[in-house]
Subunit: 152 residues, 4 copies
């Protein structure tokens, strides 16, 4: 049951360079004794924001009348491979998989402390003007920078 956004898994997995580390909280488990499946998206969000900060692009900021663009999530998906438990230490990897005119595809990979793949994911982020609700093209500079990070 390989996810449709992954071609050759080994190839796909080795392209990740950036990651954050998270430890699964007690409140993130559920009565099945493992991490609740909605939590992976919280980890993706944190990894994405930290990755963007690392790259110096698309940082979230409080919205006021002067803010002309914020990153908005257009879609998200997660494929669960292995159960995750309380206190597991996960590395959440993020990489840019595609750069569009006003959007990017981000891929995610989560491994536990035993280096086992626990879940994978992807999602599109769009740069939007919060005042109009319309997408805003990425600058040529940002596009060039981001495109240089895409492995093919």
């Amino acid at each position: 049951m390989k996810a449709n956004y992954i071609g050759d898994f080994q190839e796909w997995a080795k392209d990740f360079a950036f990651f954050i580390e998270v430890r699964v909280r007690f409140s993130e488990t559920d009565m099945y004794g493992h991490m609740n499946n909605t939590v992976s998206f919280t980890f993706f969000e944190q990894a994405r924001i930290d990755y963007f900060r690392h790259l110096g692009v698309l940082m979230p900021s409080a919205i006021d009348e002067n803010v002309a663009e914020i990153p908005i999530v257009a879609d998200l998906q997660c494929d669960y491979v292995k159960q995750v438990f309380f206190d597991d230490v996960l590395r959440i990897y993020a990489k840019i998989a595609k750069v569009g005119n006003s959007s990017m595809d981000i891929h995610y990979l989560a491994k536990n402390q035993h280096d086992e793949v626990c879940f994978t994911g992807r999602g599109t982020v769009v740069q939007m003007d919060p005042r109009t609700g319309k997408s805003v093209p990425l600058s040529e500079e940002a596009k060039t920078q981001l495109a240089s990070l895409v492995f093919l």
Copy 2:
């Protein structure tokens, strides 16, 4: 181990009139098989907001430069009496226990579908100006209205 904000429990409990109903979600349980203890505060928040809406006071709104006052939580506490489980249907009661110059004390009571007390709580809400971070006195009209709801 009665909470210090409760005098005679029967007296205290019978003064509640307003309640909301919530059903405990699967994602709100933890690996102990019951509702995670942080969830009660989410229920208090919902009950408080719905109660204020019911009274027509202190409704939350998006903050912009024209918003002169928002309700802010100054403190919160919860005393757990009985375990709560997935799918339990809780009535979260809220009442005003004290009205100050710019604040109110709200008390909470949670009962399950068997009419058993599951947890109780309280907290102070302050009316604040988001532009200055300072408290804003309640209007005389609001104070009179709210004070009329306090049982003694």
Copy 3:
């Protein structure tokens, strides 16, 4: 940017019959002023569980040594169409889109109080034996019942 699990949207949307109603909580918003995007998956979980209960299949239960099968989420995805705000009342629709040997595909549709599509989603649920971690075939009876609900 139509989601790849949706053919003709009108056809797809009209096949939903079951729904739950949820009201977006204050704690489910984020600093962008709208519902945080991780919350949709919590709503999907609740809709799925309630739908299974309605059908009388795959109910979650506390795990002990006698429990031979629990429903496990294999993957999840969500496509965001329209922003959702505090206090919006959403109908979360769920339907069975495909029945496999030990799994089912569930599709989701969320509409707000103005009958506007806010987000859509899908995910596979697998029946698993928690003692072995292996998938467990659905009974012939369950398969027949579930398959009868799939629109084609």
Copy 4:
């Protein structure tokens, strides 16, 4: 508005030795642009569990028929002093304030990256037998160890 569990604040604050560091997630903010007030209790939970692990007592574990005791939260409270924002790095301090026969009082203090007090809290944890729902006395050894950590 000093919390009633704090005598002299300077004295109280200087007794903390153990802390964890957390960074406020985007999903932990709300539409007021700051950390939602229910999140502090998640941080207290994490600090408490890590502190217990550090001390080698009362670790949570999956419940099965052989588990004779788990730590249960009897009550919790939080006093909010200063707003917390996305990406703030908080130190959540925890200390044992009192040791009873089968319970402990834990106090909490949260400071941000500027060493400003953001919120304080406390709560009682009881050792319980999950099979009976009754409290279980702490061992003499544990009581002696824990009592030695209480500052007076």
